[in-house]
């Protein structure tokens, strides 16, 4: 055979970037014209054989002999199909290794001559060892590349007896590049081919390992929580092994110890222990774990049985109250009363007080003062605008982020079960579809019920009965009746000028001086100056604006010091214009010489009292009653009642009845932009209308207030203190008020009572006679006339 070597003369198919090995079937696609021609020529033979050589450079389109590797494969075309793009899809089967001798022609396709180059067949233990190692490595690589490789494929690898065939299969399987595959095909010995493949595969394994590591890391991050859980479990196991307590066990232990020491009431302790049991059974990663822990923390923090000791020294308490607040006798007395009761009966129920008064009269600070006097903790919460019942009573623990209500939170902050708990702005509670917080307050503020107040979060009864509740409000009319019913109302009226002066001297000026860093010696504010500030720059029932104005004055003085001026300064009345600007309020001068149809009334407002003029005029040829000035329904009715009363008593007042028939009446109450309501202007209406119909003017130095009935009775009204003070501010020194209100005068400061003249009326006639002097004369003559008639 060797003398006559076989030579194949066959079409040549150049491959761009692949190598066909003997024994392997490989799909190919032929697109180049020369390649198609070569395949067609091969198919036109009986045996369908073709020579396949790989191009050295894949970028060359029409390769010649020198562009091809000299060692290639003789193949048989098994199947051929034309694709839609005109390519030939081939299935070729590698037959044997050949060496290219010569290219006979290159047009229309390469035709070459090749000698078979039998594959090496060296044997020995080294080959066996190499083959074993390679098969093992291949198994490893396969596991890495495709963990779920079909079992048959693995079997195939293992069963490959021919070492070269193994390398060829692996090369195809791991898609080695053309150059490596070619050198594998050219290998002169099996040993070399095996070593080469081993090297390539080793590299492949390393790459795959790296890739798997990267994907694994990504996956690990995703399941970090699971990993954490696992590690924690392991740690627990280790700690148990070592006889140590685990983190969360230690935590549970700690909680349990705290529970023992906390001295909770029996039933609370039982419940808390049950929760602790649940906690111990939970893994710390469970969402419930933290919920229960926070809950237990809360239960432990609450002052179930802890209370502060009251200071029962009444003299000292009185001193504290007097230090902090001037006046306010009623309130102070009430606090001291309670202190007295506590002294005799330590378990007395605490009263629920409600301070009502205009802003700035010291309601809130009074609460603090009470706490100080009783030596109790003070907690304050504002209910203004609160519109969710759950704010007070908490959310059930099933909700995420659930918290106890504000009451329980305040108790925790106070750290004692008998604090002074101030509920500010109880008149400004809102309500909406989520419920009405006022209803929750009903339970909280009822001494019969609040012994076992149940917060939704705690779900345990908490005793609020020792808490001294103090609520504040500006007005009572927005507070629901049942709630109002539970509270003891203490009114804090506005302050008079004298009281303000006293408060300014005692508290406000020292406070403002301290804030600006001045000493009493450096800045002197004489009484006249303070009086001027009170009357010219503030108009309020409370003290906030006064305090601000004093603050401004002291700051101006401080500025002078800071600029290097040498003190001390005394701020005179004249300095005020420079410091505070022109007077903001002129002393409300009473109108002089009222025309007929105008009367002076008094009104109560949330910021104190006000003088109010009611104006009436006749409308000739008009009809009926016109009311302007934003009058509320009650006020309108009171005008009608007044009118009807006068109408029916026209004769008594010597009024021409034709007036009622022929002219209408217009009543206006300035200031027109402010809504007004209430029955207390009844007597003023009656006076204005009487003055109008009789054409007799009313006295301008008399102000009046009181409700009237159709039969002419004068009924009592509220807000006497504010109204009297307002009249006094306006320079009116006579006030007509219902007889039934006489008792309210004791609320007024001594000097006011002395300065003012009060006329108490039980019937409208009393009012009219005082307010319209000429009418009194006329009525007298009337009476005389009647008497003389009778005579």
């Amino acid at each position: 055979m060797s003398e006559q070597p076989v030579v194949y003369t066959l079409p040549v198919l150049p491959l761009k970037s692949a190598v066909l090995f003997p024994y392997l079937v490989m799909p190919l696609s032929a697109g180049r014209a020369a390649s198609i021609a070569a395949v067609e020529a091969a198919l036109a033979t009986e045996s369908k054989e073709i020579l396949i050589f790989t191009q050295r450079d894949a970028d060359i389109d029409t390769p010649g002999k020198d562009d091809l590797y000299t060692i290639g494969t003789k193949a048989v075309i098994r199947k051929m199909n034309r694709s839609s793009e005109g390519h030939l899809e081939l299935m070729v089967m590698g037959m044997e290794r050949v060496v290219l001798l010569k290219v006979d022609s290159s047009e229309p396709f390469l035709k070459g001559r090749a000698n078979p180059l039998p594959l090496p067949e060296d044997k020995g233990p080294e080959i066996e060892a190499l083959q074993g190692a390679l098969a093992e490595l291949a198994g490893e690589a396969l596991t890495l590349a495709q963990p779920n490789t079909p079992q048959e494929l693995r079997g195939l690898l293992a069963s490959n007896e021919d070492p070269l065939r193994l390398t060829f299969v692996l090369s195809a399987m791991f898609s080695l590049d053309a150059e490596k595959s070619q050198s594998l095909l050219e290998a002169p010995t099996r040993a070399e081919a095996l070593r080469m493949m081993h090297r390539y595969l080793m590299h492949e394994v390393q790459v795959l390992e790296l890739r798997n590591k990267i994907t694994n890391e990504a996956r690990t991050e995703m399941s970090k929580e699971q990993k954490d859980y696992l590690l924690r479990q392991q740690m627990r196991a280790i700690q148990q092994e070592l006889g140590e307590k685990g983190g969360e066990q230690a935590e549970a232990q700690q909680l349990s110890e705290r529970l023992e020491k906390a001295g909770l009431p029996e039933d609370i302790l039982k419940e808390a222990k049950r929760e602790l049991d649940r906690l111990e059974k939970l893994p710390p990663g469970a969402p419930d774990y933290n919920v229960i822990r926070t809950y237990l923390d809360y239960v432990l923090d609450l002052p179930w049985t802890k209370s502060t000791e009251d200071s029962l020294d009444i003299a000292k308490a009185r001193q504290v109250l007097d230090e902090d607040h001037f006046g306010l006798k009623d309130v102070k007395e009430r606090i001291l009363e309670h202190l007295g009761v506590l002294k005799l009966n330590p378990n007395a129920k605490a009263p629920i007080l409600c301070f009502v008064g205009p802003p700035g009269v010291g309601k809130t600070s009074l609460g603090q003062s009470i706490a100080r006097a009783l030596n109790r903790k003070f907690e304050r919460m504002s209910l203004g605008g609160l519109h969710d019942e759950a704010e007070l009573r908490g959310h059930r623990r099933t909700y995420i982020g659930a918290m106890p209500g504000r009451v329980i939170q305040a108790m925790r902050r106070a750290g004692a079960n008998n604090p002074v708990l101030m509920l500010d702005e109880v008149d400004k509670l809102g309500h909406d579809f989520r419920g009405d917080p006022a209803h929750a307050l009903l339970e909280i503020l009822d001494p019969e019920q609040n012994k076992t107040f149940r917060d939704n979060y705690l779900d345990l009864p908490f005793d609020l009965s020792k808490v001294l509740f103090v609520t504040t409000a500006n007005a009572l009319d927005t507070i629901p009746r049942p709630l109002l019913d539970r509270m003891e109302i203490l009114r804090l009226g506005g302050y008079s000028e004298e009281e303000k002066l006293e408060i300014a001297k005692r508290y406000l000026i020292p406070k403002q001086l301290k804030e600006t860093g001045l000493t009493v010696e450096q800045c002197n504010l004489p009484d006249d100056t303070v009086r001027k500030i009170i009357s010219g720059y503030t108009r309020e029932a409370g003290l906030r604006r006064l305090e601000r104005a004093i603050g401004r004055v002291t700051r101006k003085v401080a500025l002078k010091f800071a600029e290097g001026a040498a003190g001390p300064f005394t701020v005179s009345v004249d300095d005020l214009v420079e410091m505070l600007g022109p007077e903001q309020f002129n002393q409300e001068e009473a109108r002089r010489d009222l025309p007929p149809g105008v009367a002076t009334g008094l009104a109560w407002t949330e910021s104190g009292g006000d003088v109010l003029y009611i104006e009436g005029t006749l409308l000739p040829d008009g009809k009926g009653l016109t009311l302007t000035g934003q009058l509320g329904e009650v006020m309108q009715e009171s005008v009608k009642a007044a009118q009807s009363y006068i109408w029916s008593h026209a004769g008594d007042f010597d009024i021409d009845p034709a007036l009622f028939k022929n002219s209408g009446v217009h009543v206006h109450v300035p200031a027109g932009a402010i809504p007004k309501d209430g029955p207390s202007a009844g007597v003023t209406m009656a006076t204005a209308l009487t003055s109008l119909y009789t054409k007799l003017p009313a006295r301008s130095d008399v102000a009046m207030t009181g409700e009237i009935t159709l039969t002419g009775l004068v009924l009592p009204i509220g807000g006497i203190k504010e109204k009297v003070l307002a009249a006094r501010r306006a320079g009116i020194h006579t006030v007509i008020m219902p007889k039934a209100n006489q008792k309210d005068l004791r609320d007024l400061p001594e000097e006011v009572r002395k300065e003012m003249e009060f006329i108490f009326a039980s019937r409208v006639e009393d009012v009219l006679q005082t307010a319209i002097p000429q009418l009194a004369e006329r009525m007298d003559t009337c009476k005389t006339r009647l008497i003389s008639h009778a005579a």
């Binding site: 970037s17 392997l24 079937v25 045996s47 048989v76 037959m95 195809a172």
Partner: protein, 118 residues
């Protein structure tokens, strides 16, 4: 373009070189009949050999329908060398063998008349 197509998976040849015709094996009254799917194969190109229980049929299928000026549009039939080795249930070395080509099938009949060395 003669690159490796990405659409077809690399196929591993179960048995390397020749293609394998399909075969049916019949048990007959007097022996065995094996039928090979060998259409287009001339009987002279076929070799049948019996080695113990193994029956080996090999040969070449030549494409003899080529006309001058014609070319393939597609090809699915395998040509060139084929070989099929069957393991028979019995040793048939002493059987009488007849080979017949009929209707594109190669029929190998082995008559043992009951003298089988199973």
């Amino acid at each position: 373009m003669s690159t490796r197509s990405k659409t077809w998976p690399t196929l591993l040849a179960e048995r390397p070189l020749p293609w394998e015709p399909s075969a049916d094996v019949y048990r007959t009254k007097d022996g065995w009949l094996v039928k090979f799917d060998l259409a287009g194969v001339q009987i002279g190109d076929v070799t049948v050999a019996l080695q113990g229980r193994r029956l080996i049929v090999s040969g070449v299928r030549r494409d003899s329908f080529l006309e001058e000026g014609s070319s393939y549009y597609s090809m699915e039939i395998s040509y060139n060398r084929f070989e099929r080795s069957l393991l028979m249930p019995a040793n048939l070395e002493n059987a009488r063998v007849t080979i017949v080509a009929r209707e594109g099938l190669l029929l190998v009949r082995m008559i043992t008349e009951g003298n089988e060395n199973v």
